[in-house]
Symmetry: D2
């Protein structure tokens, strides 16, 4: 299912990497909301391929076209459909994927799931390219959230072992979140960024790839939103975040680190600052009992290294049921983490918006 | 919402920590499935409090009573309602929670969410006690999965910094999963377990608490089940796992470690073993593109330390809007991780069953 | 599935006719709402059996017991579970239903659906008795709606060919809706009611049964609520109304009669009355494009005659696959329509509430 | 919401009457299913406007274009997006709809719902034109159902007071259902059809419109599918059927007529015919307890007369809050029932398919 939804807000993503178009239908957007298309394009451009040495050489302008749900720059309340043309496709690169599984990819599991009828060109519907419609949906959600006082931003927390600085979980501001989004390489500390870029370039030269972690934050989200058990903010965010290909872990607040702390360390003392109830630390990541506390909502999302590498790899031909060697061709990101930053923002924005409309 | 569901299988949990009963309605169980009530009671007993030095002193036998949906030991196809009596409640312990927030608890967020109308006694519906109905649902699901060749087991992966051995992600067997479930303290390596127990006892003496990580595994789950994007196994499992109170992170396969690996390391080479397609390593945790690969499904779930500690803590009175100090009374687990093991198994079992019925 | 829900409001019904208890879990009720239990009991009593010559001789007090989700007379925001004991069960009446299908009942279809594992005693989960938990949920919903200015009422529109007066679709008031609810036999015109009662008694003497139609109305529901296509008020109401056993048709406003009208007759002219936009007639039943217009919401629900009749009937033994004759034993309503009135109100109330919370 | 779904099968419709495109995303179609595009076009042509004297003069070829989810004539398992271009739009016809409500239309309710931001041109997303994407989805569903032995067909049961013959509810065959679909005017009795056409033409000349009823039937649907209470076939079908604009009533089997029958008449005696369990009559419409019996599934759907008529009508200017007179311009069907026939088939097909995939 490429449908995600909560209550009154739903999205339905369609398309394949090498089909003619990819897109998304968003249902439940409130009517009369102004959407700044230029800003939306800028947001989509942050994810678009071909911008730098760290990403695939596939060139796609990725200009979203709005087919419905908008009139005179405003939402009409009807479902909004947005589409992107696929242009730069090299489908001949994928001819042997109908029988030989790329390690780390979904070729074999998709073959089983769809009895071999799935479109394998460019990984078909499994392609990271399908995050482009998600980014459209999230870009629109971000604008609606901003009108409601909520700002969402993310940065590259780490690539391999190189870490960026971290968001200040207590005092991060909307302005800081906006600043990092303007950078070509979304890090807080540009020196760390330089190191990451070098590592990615080195990996690329070695016909290898790297993974990393994206940290995302929402500020201004009202306190008292969410529910215990299964409709909590953590449940809802993780249910959409794992929809981004290559995500293998999600944590909130102190996350896995909290498992190593004592209660006396992990518990965030409450205090009153400028007449407002806050916590002195933010190990809870802005969520307690599934409900927002008013503190910044913070999470980290782990991405595995791009599975497409051009080194020879041991694998199988699942049609012939025999082992073989494979060299993956095609154009790929040596590290998807830089382009994953707006994808994470988009998923978080869409999910959080579902609580407010 | 305390409703969770996928397609034909849904659960609805109700009750408060100090109400008369807690329970669950499960809708969509296939008809004619034999449920072994004794085995179900044993599974519930693994979660029940009061069994050891590492858990709360509250004594609850937690015997589930089946009110509907079963006849002559078999499911009827109608909704199954199971209930547990609350007996050993000390509600006077919670009198000041209507105004003073326990750090790390949902008292303040619940107050905002429910305008102060929520039942605060024993944390009400936010209590870890509400995992008892989840465990009933999961215990039933485990039995149905076993009839379908799927076995689920979990162990205490770590408490604070002390680690247990890990599941062999490639060759773990149903038998091994069953063995660890029989232990009083669910670790693979009993020496590690002893150390963990000591650490927990020490923390308890210091009026403190500890967190930890639970590792869970499913073997025998058929390959080719799941979907890309939002109905993938990772999405679905995380959406229910974050429903267990105190969970702050979920990762699959190599998880966050994958973010530090190169593609050449993280990619699991395919091979053919005994005529069956496998992978030589299992960094993908049995899931690729949201779809099962036939390898063991492996995940780790991070638990924060129990927020209830009896040390003085800085907090606020949210009615009076003033800072104050709090010493939490009541009976609490100094570390919930040991009792969380069957909760994780239960959540995973119920979610995986939803793909097979 | 005995789960129904929309957005933030869900119910899950459980139980079998001759099980120990039946009940409902309602999730998503707003917190802090006062529930008048006496009034709820009165509402449940309107559906309870054994009150008159027109209903089954089974005696059930049907007193709901609230297990969770309420404290000090108010909702807590946590799931509300309410239960009713089954007392007066004569299970031996149903012994041959495991193989012989009662015409008009679900015995045979349930046998196929559940492979014979379903509980046949008193029709099990298919029993009209399962409307008791629905009535609890609807009774609570009615109280919450009343606090929001919405009143719901229904009457017996017809039994066989005898018709009651109709609601004035334009000017019906909350007061009128409340008055008819107080009557033992819910008709507007008591003479018509007398005739209906006589017809039902006659049918009962002839070992036969009768069907009828219930008309239901909601006044005070705000204008501008609902959606086109699949989340319209008509879609939502019908999806729950067909959950009441024996319902075979649902129509809104002029309904099937509209199909015989010209546009110039059926179109309701708009006008302004007391400064408020209204329509002069109400053939649209208060709903246009799935959205409320502010006029009374009006619908009619067709009930088939009770299938349980004590005349000999031709049927089959589906185990032996042979034709046979059957005389249905047990205690049954010769006409369920009088007791269906609060069931319809309940379903409508719960569904409409889902738009307002 | 223009999203409809059950379990693994979902659709999301988008577009406005005078936008550039309208379309649908279908998620959950099984992979590897051959779709005959020519047949799909023929099915869409049955709904397309401009074919006869009884329909609107708007000319739209309505050729669906498949953007995703198909490869080499087969479904891939990924979401299928299909689109239709809007060509023949006369938007100037609708300029005053932003303030003056057409009686019987959703102009005023939509204005309230969307605060005036909705697209009013050609009724926007409320237009009957939005059934074109539904027909695409249903046309695909019909083909998949046919491969599973299920055939769906409908006819014009009545226009105003003129009735067609009825389907033989017991012995209707797939062949008969296919035959009526080939006709330009979908009636069983062509003489009745002629009368209907004359009535429609007369109404058109009088600047008026007519309503009618569509009867739909599914044969070959397996017995034992469905559920009691809220996931029954009647609930599910009605929840989608009321999504077709102008539907005001839905009934199954004997429907409202059953309310006038005695149990001894309405109960369908079971019998064995050619070794197969059947009923001698089919007042239950193939559904008992929400579950299919194996008999033809039969329903009737009431359509109100087209609200757009060119006579002067009394209405209001809702911006100025004053009464006024309106003459509706634009091109409209004097009776939508003929074109509604494939819409009903489509809705039924899609909903029934959701039980089989």
């Amino acid at each position: 299912m490429s449908v995600w939804g909560r209550n009154n807000l739903k999205l339905s993503i369609f398309g394949e990497s090498h089909g003619s178009e990819i897109g998304v239908v968003i249902d439940g957007l409130p009517a009369g909301e102004h959407i700044d298309i230029d800003e939306l394009k800028l947001f989509c451009a942050r994810r678009a391929p071909g911008n730098s040495t760290t990403s695939t050489k596939r060139r796609e302008p990725d200009i979203p076209k709005i087919l419905s749900g908008m009139l005179d720059g405003k939402t009409t309340g009807a479902p909004l459909c947005a589409m992107i043309q696929n242009n730069d496709t090299h489908s001949q690169d994928y001819n042997n994927l109908k029988k030989v599984a790329r390690p780390g990819h979904a070729d074999y599991t998709a073959y089983l799931r769809y009895n071999g009828a799935n479109d394998v060109r460019g990984s078909g519907h499994f392609s990271g390219r399908l995050t482009a419609p998600l980014v459209i949906a999230g870009g629109i959600a971000k604008q609606l959230l901003r009108n409601r006082g909520v700002e969402i931003g993310a940065h590259i927390f780490s690539v391999q072992n190189t870490k960026d600085d971290v968001f200040d979980a207590v005092s991060i501001t909307a302005k800081q979140l906006l600043e990092v989004q303007k950078k070509d390489f979304a890090v807080l500390n540009d020196e760390s960024g330089e190191m990451m870029i070098q590592q990615i370039e080195t990996a690329a030269k070695q016909l290898d790839s790297l993974g990393g972690v994206v940290e995302c934050c929402a500020v201004g989200f009202p306190a008292g939103i969410g529910s215990p058990m299964f409709d909590g903010i953590e449940n809802v965010l993780s249910s959409i975040l794992f929809g981004i290909p290559a995500v293998k872990g999600v944590e909130f607040g102190a996350g896995f680190k909290a498992s190593k702390m004592a209660g006396s360390e992990n518990n965030d003392p409450y205090c009153i600052k400028d007449g407002k109830i806050c916590t002195e630390t933010n190990n809870h990541g802005g969520i307690l009992g599934g409900i927002s506390s008013g503190m910044p909502i913070i999470m980290r999302v782990a991405f595995k290294p791009t599975p497409s590498i051009s080194q020879p790899q041991k694998t199988i031909n699942f049609i012939e049921q025999e082992e073989c060697e494979l060299i993956v061709k095609g154009r790929h990101d040596p590290c998807i983490v830089p382009r994953a930053v707006p994808c994470v923002e988009a998923a978080v924005a869409f999910a959080l918006l579902s609580y407010l409309v």
